[in-house]
Symmetry: C2
């Protein structure tokens, strides 16, 4: 069984990062993946210390990326922000910086252009990530997010980029984003040791919102054990991170959410 | 410019098939693609006659498919229904029978299994389709429909099946379903003369519903002229079918919808 990590977005509406760190310790969850906004609230140095004192592994920092922008100044600002994200990931000892690569610039219909901006951004960033010892985890997002969140849509596309980028670049495999892909088994095998993170959540039927209706593992139709088996067969030995963006789960008591996460981790993922 | 066809689902809430046939004639739209429920209401023979008398080209019959089912009886019933669809497509002289291949059987998490059922269904159907002279148009649907509508998710996957099936099988390329795909240009080129239909509608930002929030061409972010250029370069010489499943457009006066469709056809697709 891969050890469990709490992606803090799962309880973002009710818990600060400090609450999450204490919650993980209290529930015996050994991993944590913070989001940058909450890291900033707490202060990076304080967060790093508290996470270390709690004995937690930081399975990833969410998130860098968001490369495409309408003009050169916007793209440069994105790179600047990603530089800060690399420094933060280094400071908290994150296993990787998770990259959500960004959608089309506002008003644009130029998808190949946005993909070129993503590629340029990654090339600009990689040397600094390498220098800091921070691995970049390219996370393909579900194609329904292509317009406004991620022009990186498939594992195959992410691995093409990784092939080109070389050392220091890998992928984050999120069940929710890749389960539908007819190529998923082949691409996970191809990824091999470049799998830097494994995220679990479930696809609900019906799904009522394109962003905030993800399911707790076991509540939907994704064969999560099959996907976990694929990443393990590819050599992945990290954590399974449960990351829910869900209005339904945000409304629950976070201690209940963590309890249910632990049960599902034991039975489903 | 590819000639325009009205997919009747675009005005399904207010117009019968007879209304659609008259509407196309009145607005000078030379193609029509009926749905089977409306064809049944009118009667196949009557519809065939009226469509012929109006001088319309039937660019496709929507829809066959829906192969996966929980048990063998369910799968046999689906094949039976597809046989009737082939007969109907033949009767109205449809350029193809559009196949929406179906989602996971209720309660199932076995996506490879559902895909095998789709494949078996296609193999069972093809001889009869060939005998009737009805081309089968495999339509990959957006991955967000994988669980409940279509385990056929990409053009690449559809063309693998077409390679295996041989003569009589091709694809329907719908901008809405394929625009995000990093492989789209390569797969459209690969498809070549196997492109049996080209459907246009647009991806809205934000999209508020996974099924019924498609945009009128020009209102979203899809570079429809680029996709049309790809299918033309691949040798496609058929119609561009406007197919909207949209609560917003269903509420409009259908004559207004057809007028706007014609404008957008002239300027966008």
């Amino acid at each position: 069984m891969l050890p469990l990590s709490l992606n803090t977005v799962t309880v973002r509406e009710r818990w600060s990062l400090a609450d999450c760190i204490e919650g993980c310790a209290r529930h015996g969850i050994p991993g944590i993946a913070p989001w940058r906004d909450r890291l900033a609230e707490m202060g990076v140095a304080a967060a790093a210390r508290r996470i270390r004192d709690a004995g937690l592994t930081v399975t990833g920092l969410c998130r860098g990326g968001l490369f495409p922008a309408a003009d050169a100044a916007g793209r440069a600002a994105a790179i600047e922000d990603n530089r800060r994200a690399i420094a933060e990931a280094h400071a908290i000892g994150a296993a990787c910086l998770v990259l959500v690569c960004g959608g089309l610039p506002p008003g644009s219909k130029d998808l190949p252009g946005a993909r070129a901006m993503m590629r340029d951004g990654l090339h600009a960033l990689l040397p600094e990530a390498r220098a800091a010892g921070v691995a970049l985890a390219l996370e393909p997002l579900h194609p329904m997010t292509c317009a406004d969140r991620s022009v990186l849509s498939t594992l195959g596309q992410a691995l093409e980029l990784c092939d080109e980028l070389g050392e220091g670049a890998g992928v984050a495999v999120d069940c929710y984003h890749v389960w539908w892909d007819p190529e998923v088994a082949r691409q996970i095998a191809r990824a091999g040791r470049r799998i830097l993170a494994f995220h679990a959540c479930d696809w609900l039927v019906p799904t009522t919102d394109l962003v905030f209706d993800r399911g707790m593992p076991g509540d939907g139709v994704i064969d999560i054990p099959a996907l976990r088996g694929m990443v393990e067969a590819a050599g992945y030995r990290g954590f399974v991170e449960i990351e829910l963006l869900s209005r339904r789960w945000w409304a629950e008591d976070p201690d209940d959410v963590l309890r249910i996460m632990k049960q599902r981790h034991a039975t489903v993922c």
